[in-house]
C-alpha cells in the first residue's frame, strides 16, 4: 500500500469499494458455482448398464454366404467358409441402422454405403462397420457381445453337439 491508498483509506472510499468488489466477486463465483451445480444436476447419476450378450437362437440354420439380422443385438450375423462373424448394424456416421442390399449395406438416413464386410464404399460415414465379438455360451448357442469389437478377419467356428 502506498500513500495514495492510505489517503483513500482515511476517507473510507477504498474499503467500500474493496468490500463491494469482494461481495460482487463472491456473487459471481457463487453464480458460476450454481451453473456448475446445475450442470451436475442435469448429468444423469445412473445410466443403464451395457447391454448383455445376445444369444442367437438358431445360428446353425444360417447357410454359408447368408446373412441374418439379429434385432436385439442390432447386428447382422454372417457366415462364410471359415466360420461365423457379426457386423454391427449401427451406421458409423450418426447411428441409424443399416439395411441389407445385394451389394452389402446401405444406411437410409444419409446414404452411406458399406461392402458386405463392413468397409465404407460411399457416403458420409468415415469408419467401417465394426465386427462384434462372438462367443459360445454354456448351451452351445452363438452369442453376440455388443461391447467388444474384433478385427474384421476374426471368425467363430462353433463346436456343436
Amino acid at each position: 500500500m502506498n500513500e495514495h491508498d492510505a489517503s483513500r483509506t482515511r476517507e473510507g472510499m477504498s474499503r467500500r469499494t474493496f468490500l463491494g468488489r469482494l461481495l460482487g466477486g463472491s456473487l459471481v463465483l457463487a453464480l458460476l458455482g450454481s451453473v456448475r451445480a446445475l450442470w451436475r444436476f442435469l448429468t444423469p447419476p445412473i445410466t443403464t448398464p451395457a447391454p448383455p450378450p445376445v444369444p442367437v437362437p438358431d445360428a446353425s440354420s444360417l447357410a454359408p454366404g447368408g446373412l441374418l439380422y439379429i434385432a436385439p443385438a442390432r447386428a447382422y450375423l454372417a457366415r462364410d467358409e471359415h466360420g461365423y462373424f457379426a457386423i454391427s448394424a449401427v451406421c458409423t456416421h450418426l447411428g441409424c441402422l443399416v439395411d441389407q442390399t445385394p451389394e452389402g449395406f446401405r444406411c437410409p438416413c444419409h446414404g452411406s454405403r458399406f461392402a458386405p464386410d463392413g468397409t465404407v464404399e460411399a457416403g458420409p460415414a468415415a469408419h467401417p462397420l465394426p465386427h462384434l465379438a462372438l462367443r459360445q455360451n454354456a448351451d452351445r448357442q452363438v452369442v453376440i457381445d455388443r461391447t467388444q469389437t474384433v478385427p474384421p478377419d476374426a471368425r467363430l467356428t462353433p463346436s456343436l453337439g
Binding site: 448429468t43 445410466t47 443403464t48 450418426l94 439395411d99 438416413c109 444419409h110 458420409p124
Partner: protein
C-alpha cells in the same frame, strides 16, 4: 341486459366497449402510434401473428398434457388415444400442430421483415439479438414436440440429432448425457424432452416474448419508414391497431381451425429401435441439415455451419452500423440484405433438394 344491447347496437359506442371494460390487452398498447407502422403491407402483422400462434399452441398443448404419457411404452399409444378416441382430440392436436408450424413460419418471416426494413438498426440491436435467441428457442420447441410423438420418424431424428451433439469436441460427451439422460435414447431422453417441451422451453419463450415487446416499446415502437420532409407524421390511436389485431386474430384462428379440421396432425407408426428406419426424414425445419449431413462431416454439417450462420445473423446490426430503419429494400442497406437473402436462399435450396430426391 338492455344497457348491454344498447351498447352493442350503438355505432358510436361500440368502439368503446373494451375501453369501458378495462381489457388488459387494450391497456398495454401505446396510446398513439404512427399510421405507417401498422400498415399491413409494411409489417404484414407477422409479430402479432407469431404471438397469436404461440398462444394457441400453448393453450392446446396444455390440454394435450392431460392425456399424453411421456414413457416409451405409452407415448405413441397415448397419442393414438388422443387422435382416435378422445372427443375432439384429433382437432385439438391438429390445432396444436398447425399453430406451432405457423408460429415457426411467422417468426422466420418476421425476421426477414426486420432485416429488409432495417429494423435491426440502433437502438434496436439488443432486441434483434433477443429475437434471434427466441428463434433458436422456437426451433428447439418445435423439434422437442416432434420427438414426443415417439413414432419412427421422431425416433431416428432424435437419435441422429443427439449423436450429432455428441460429436462436438470436448463438450460433446457431457452435453449428450445432459440432453439424453442416459448412454442411449430411451426413457430418460423422452422424459427430458417432455420436460423441456412442456415447461423448460415454454417459460423462456414466454418471458422472452414479454421482454422482446418491452424492449420494442423502449426502443420507440414498431419501426416505420422515414417521415417525408415537410409533412407531419400521421398518428392514429391504439383503437385502430387493436381493431386490426382483433380482426387478424379472428381470421387466423378461424383459418387454423379450418385447416385443423381438414388435415390432422401427422403420426407415423410406433417406433422400433431394433429395425432399420423405413424412410428417414428429419422434421421440415431441419431438412437442410440432413442435406448437409449427406455430404459434409457431421460436426460441420450439424453444428459448425448452423452456428456460423447464426453468428452471421447475429452480427447483422454490427455489419451495418449506420443503418436506419425505414423502407423495404432500402439500397443503402444493400449488402446486409443480400447476405440475408443469400442465407435464406441457401436454406431453401438445401431443403428443397432434400425433399425432391
Amino acid at each position: 341486459m338492455t344497457r348491454m344491447m344498447r351498447v352493442l347496437t350503438s355505432t358510436r359506442r361500440r368502439r368503446r366497449l373494451w375501453q369501458r371494460h378495462q381489457s388488459i390487452l387494450y391497456a398495454l398498447h401505446p396510446d398513439r402510434l404512427p399510421a405507417e407502422s401498422i400498415r399491413l403491407t409494411y409489417t404484414f402483422g407477422l409479430g402479432g401473428i407469431s404471438i397469436l400462434a404461440a398462444t394457441l399452441t400453448i393453450l392446446t398443448g396444455l390440454f394435450l398434457t392431460l392425456y399424453y404419457q411421456p414413457t416409451p411404452e405409452e407415448a405413441h399409444a397415448s397419442i393414438v388415444l388422443i387422435e382416435d378416441v378422445v372427443a375432439f382430440g384429433s382437432l385439438i392436436r391438429a390445432l396444436h400442430y398447425w399453430a406451432a408450424q405457423l408460429f415457426v413460419l411467422a417468426v422466420t418471416l418476421h425476421m426477414a421483415r426486420i432485416v429488409f426494413t432495417g429494423a435491426y438498426a440502433r437502438p434496436r440491436r439488443l432486441n434483434w439479438l433477443i429475437g434471434l435467441g427466441l428463434l433458436v428457442l422456437v426451433l428447439l420447441w418445435d423439434f422437442s414436440g416432434y420427438v414426443l410423438r415417439w413414432d419412427e420418424g421422431a425416433h431416428w431424428a432424435l437419435l441422429v440429432g443427439t449423436n450429432l451433439v455428441g460429436r462436438i469436441p470436448h463438450l460433446g460427451r457431457s452435453l449428450y448425457l445432459v440432453l439424453v439422460g442416459d448412454r442411449q435414447i430411451g426413457e430418460a431422453a423422452l422424459l427430458r424432452f417432455y420436460g423441456w417441451h412442456v415447461i423448460g422451453l415454454t417459460l423462456p419463450v414466454v418471458f422472452g416474448i414479454v421482454y422482446h415487446l418491452f424492449r420494442l416499446r423502449v426502443d420507440g415502437g414498431i419501426s416505420r419508414p422515414p417521415r417525408p420532409a415537410g409533412r407531419p407524421r400521421r398518428m392514429v390511436s391504439k383503437e385502430v391497431l387493436f381493431q386490426r389485431e382483433t380482426i387478424a386474430a379472428l381470421l387466423i384462428t378461424g383459418g387454423l381451425l379450418l385447416l385443423s379440421a381438414l388435415r390432422p396432425a401427422p403420426l407415423g407408426a410406433s417406433a422400433s429401435l431394433d429395425r432399420p428406419p423405413p424412410t428417414a426424414q428429419a422434421p421440415w425445419i431441419f431438412l437442410w441439415v440432413q442435406r448437409l449431413l449427406r455430404h459434409l462431416p457431421p460436426f460441420w454439417a450439424g453444428v459448425g455451419i448452423p452456428l456460423a450462420l447464426l453468428t452471421l445473423l447475429a452480427a447483422i446490426p454490427w455489419l451495418d452500423p449506420h443503418a436506419r430503419a425505414g423502407r423495404w429494400f432500402d439500397r443503402r442497406r444493400g449488402p446486409v440484405q443480400a447476405l440475408f437473402a443469400f442465407i435464406a436462399l441457401l436454406l431453401i435450396v438445401l431443403t428443397v433438394g432434400e425433399v425432391i430426391p
